[in-house]
Symmetry: C2
Subunit: 251 residues, 2 copies
């Protein structure tokens, strides 16, 4: 039996939608989840609007094993993620004593402003996620993980999640490359995909060093199928009198 564990991601922030900031968290989270045996299956980028945050969280948390959010947990008025996670779950929005103690230690007692106190508020029943970079923690509410938007902080929070995420069979992948148009190989690719229902096969055209080409990426949770599918693909390309080149897929 193959065990598949799934995740979705919610990127919260007007600054991504307006083009002011380029998201750097999707790719990092995706690769981290692969290593954990979890498959990222949907991503949404949404604005800083309370009702949209609530609706999106409630839609995704029942459809995927895990949900990860980034953004909107800082000290200013536009940081509205935490309170809307509480509303999405229908629980109270309360101060975390642990979070308060952490911030008091980080900033010293007298420097805790009202704004920073805002960062100590979490949904009732949530557990904290450590922030080794700047102290203010994220939190986990059931299967929803609420993290900072700043990439270095978000990445540091993942360290604390390694023992809380339970993956399934990892998605393995291998790739080969050709240096001509992908359309010439369409029939071969289709044959291989039909032969191996547990292998997905993607074709990604590229233009590098002034040459057109394509990478064929095979992905499967079953190693034997992956290897056999790769073997068949190479044989069929060879039988066409064409060349292909090995290369590990980045994933």
């Amino acid at each position: 039996m193959i065990k598949t564990v799934t995740a979705s991601m919610i990127i919260i922030g007007d600054e991504i939608l307006s083009g002011r900031t380029k998201d750097a968290n999707l790719n990092h989270l995706s690769l981290w989840l692969n290593r954990m045996g979890v498959q990222l299956q949907e991503v949404r980028v949404i604005p800083d609007i309370g009702q949209v945050i609530q609706d999106t969280v409630n839609d995704l948390r029942v459809r995927f094993d895990y949900v990860f959010t980034t953004g909107g947990i800082g000290p200013t008025h536009d940081d509205i993620t935490a309170e809307n996670i509480a509303k999405a779950f229908g629980v109270a929005f309360v101060q975390s004593e642990t979070s308060l103690a952490l911030l008091q230690k980080h900033y010293g007692n007298e420097k805790i402003s009202d704004a920073r106190l805002r960062m100590t508020m979490i949904p009732e029943g949530a557990s904290l996620i450590k922030n080794p970079v700047s102290s203010a923690p994220g939190f986990q509410m059931e299967n929803v993980f609420v993290m900072a938007g700043i990439p270095v902080v978000m990445q540091s929070m993942l360290l604390d999640l390694e023992l809380r995420i339970f993956g399934g069979d990892k998605m393995l992948s291998k790739a080969i490359h050709v240096f001509e148009g992908e359309s010439n190989f369409a029939g071969v690719l289709e044959n291989v995909e039909k032969e191996f229902p547990n292998v997905s096969l993607g074709s990604y055209p590229f233009f590098r060093r002034k040459r057109f080409g394509a990478s064929f990426v095979l992905r499967s949770q079953i190693e034997a199928d992956l290897d056999q599918a790769l073997e068949m693909l190479k044989l069929e390309i060879g039988a066409m009198g064409k060349e292909c080149f090995d290369g590990e897929a980045e994933l």
Copy 2:
């Protein structure tokens, strides 16, 4: 009256979700839409699964003025966007004579393989979107614009959309920057946002040249409000005895 025109984007592709490829189209489309007077309000990244494509298109095309998709319109078996757009609209999937003529001209008559013919199929009633880079066109079906995933091709297709997209009042933006923690300014930011309901005010912490700081970005479709809100913010920061620095927001 302020006229607001909205858009959403669907990034179709397992390779983005698996982390193999970093998306480069979101940011480009977002900035282009800003210039057109259109606000990107939601983005979804979804896998190459027909039903998911159909459901996502049908959800978003009734909620936003425009929908843009990228990816999955090439010649191989995993390019399933076009046929699923046809299914989403409940129309036939037919060969475009114009597209066929374009590809015949580009490749020469004898080189048109079955795989390339796949790229001439569009939903009945769709109009083509020019592809100056590699010929195979995208298409427009009502308010849904279906484009290639390769950034250089996607960007070239936008040229053909400049006369088909009708924007509203542009979202204008201005920014100032401070070189200390954003939490110190939380109260001031809140005051300004309360005073100007037509201005949204985002606070974005940064760490640059070994200094912490924050950018405060004001956005509005009403220029006078934007200018007054910026003036008030500067005055209030000055009244705190703090310094701030001008700088245009990238948007």
